[in-house]
Amino acid sequence: MSDIRFTDQHEWVRVEGDIATIGITDYAQEQLGDVVFVELPEVGKELAAGDEAAVVESVKAASEVYTPVSGEVVDVNSDIEATPAGVNEDAMGDGWFVKLRLSDPSELEKLMDENAYNEFVESLQ
């Protein structure tokens, strides 16, 4: 799937039209361990690339999730707020965090594609 982009902070962003869906990668959920809590932003909030979009916590770690792209929050995944295990089960799919209406699609160009990210993860191990 070529429309997915990645950051070196282990967030992913998938674009359909002008809507960007953001989550954390499978590698990230594995490193965190069992996710126990997710805090999501309010719908309608304007976020700039690099802003804190969410917080994800496991028993032993807590981490901010930064948005790789700018835009207005149009939806959040309330399923993972209620059942944080969803992030571990399907980080790249049903375990998404927020949807933004993209304000600057050119920001996507600075992000890694899937191959580059996989290489990056391998370099960490």
Binding site: G33, D34, V36, F37, E57, S58, V59, P84, A85
Partner: protein
Amino acid sequence: MSGMNKQGRPTSIGGTSANGARETFTGNKALELEEPLLFELDNPGACGVDLDDPGEFASHLGNFERQGRIGLARVSEPEVMRHFVRLSSKNYSIDAGLYPLGSCTMKHNPRLNEKMARLPGISDVHPLQPQKTVQGSLELMNELAHWLKELTGMPGVALSPKAGAHGELCGMMAIRAALIARGEDEQRSRVLVPESAHGTNPATAALLGYKVDGIPATKEGRVDLEAFKSKLGPDVAAIMLTNPNTCGLFERDIVEIAEAVHEAGAYFYCDGANFNAIVGRVRPGDLGIDAMHINLHKTFSTPHGGGGPGAGPVVFSEALAPFAPLPYVVSGKDGFRLVETEDDAKADGTQPFGRMTAFHGQMGMFVRALSYMLSHGSDGLRQVAEDAVLNANYVLASLKDDLSAPFEGPCMHEALFDDRFLKGTGVETLDFAKAMIDEGYHPMTMYFPLVVHGALLIEPTETESKQSVDLFIATLKDLARAAKSNDKDRFTGAPYMSPRRRLDETGAARKPVLRWAPPAPAQAAE
């Protein structure tokens, strides 16, 4: 032949099965007794105190009279005794065995100290009684301050901080107050903290609005002097350094670090958590330190009490002493006096930065610490440091070939190992530690400091005998051998024999249950 075994009671263990692990009807295992929650013992009509009705009087509660049931359990005294005695039996303790938690200094707690703290003339005194009626308490505080100043070679002390982290906060506040007085508060916004530091250090600096800047460690486990110097600048307020450090090593370059810090116009905060290693032998004041908190519950043996109360007095250099918080004790011709207001302080020539707590600090802990100090004396305290360091080095030397040690010795009061010796065994640091529980030991500190992979930090303290340390060493050797010879089950399922096995921390955090609630009322019968 008069003393025969007439009932034929068997006196050999002939018929007993070898494996005692079986389920019982009660869930109890002989001396190990299960205990419900207090609220499940609720028995309407029962009460653990006898309090007479006060009789007729005119209530002045206005319209604030509490309505409805509070929900507290109703239990008699014998049941309360049994409840808490049973609970106590589920705890490990220093009095029961070696407690090698690195960085926590779990040493013997002399009971003399408890007795002194309970003398009515000391314990039954109110913090706001007229000062003439509390001269003994003020003298005691003054004496403790004197001991702390002599032992550290530092001229100022604040007794009021309630614990180590509170002491850190106090020390960093004094530093910031001194910078404000110098007119450099705006300019100095960065605090340098080594990556190996306790988590409280960066948390404290951040609370005061400082940017935290990490200093990397060298492969010898010490502050990287070059990296540190390159981070110094006119915007640095302070460095927060633990010495001996969290790897159990003395920072060899500490004098050079102090000089560089002072040359840059910044202050040197030392986390004194590990003072036990050097008490009576090295005075922090001689190293160039400006402020250091002392955990009375570590070095000076006030009981840890299952997580407090602690006490964290802070000693100050000449430069910071005038900024120490209210209140403090001074002695004059009319006896001792508590300086507790800004006006008092002004008259006394100091500029306290403020107040850390409502009253005067952890007096109950001061008594215990002073009792410990008087018992040891200058000679005994020096011996404390020497024996603590000797025991730790003995552990390091004895285990370095069985476990893996990331740094060369000698160490100070604690010995650090990493998880390289477990590589390929399928056993992790946590499993190794949990297997120690079945052997009757509290695990050591794990996964801290963060600069070492899978850290195991062992602090035996000076109150362990050689016999005790030898058995501990032999146990760890046996566990290391078992891990390497594929006896994985002994570790990954451990502990097997403790009152509870491993607990589901994920479940606890996903659906937090933080209090007991009465069961939902049963549906009314149809």
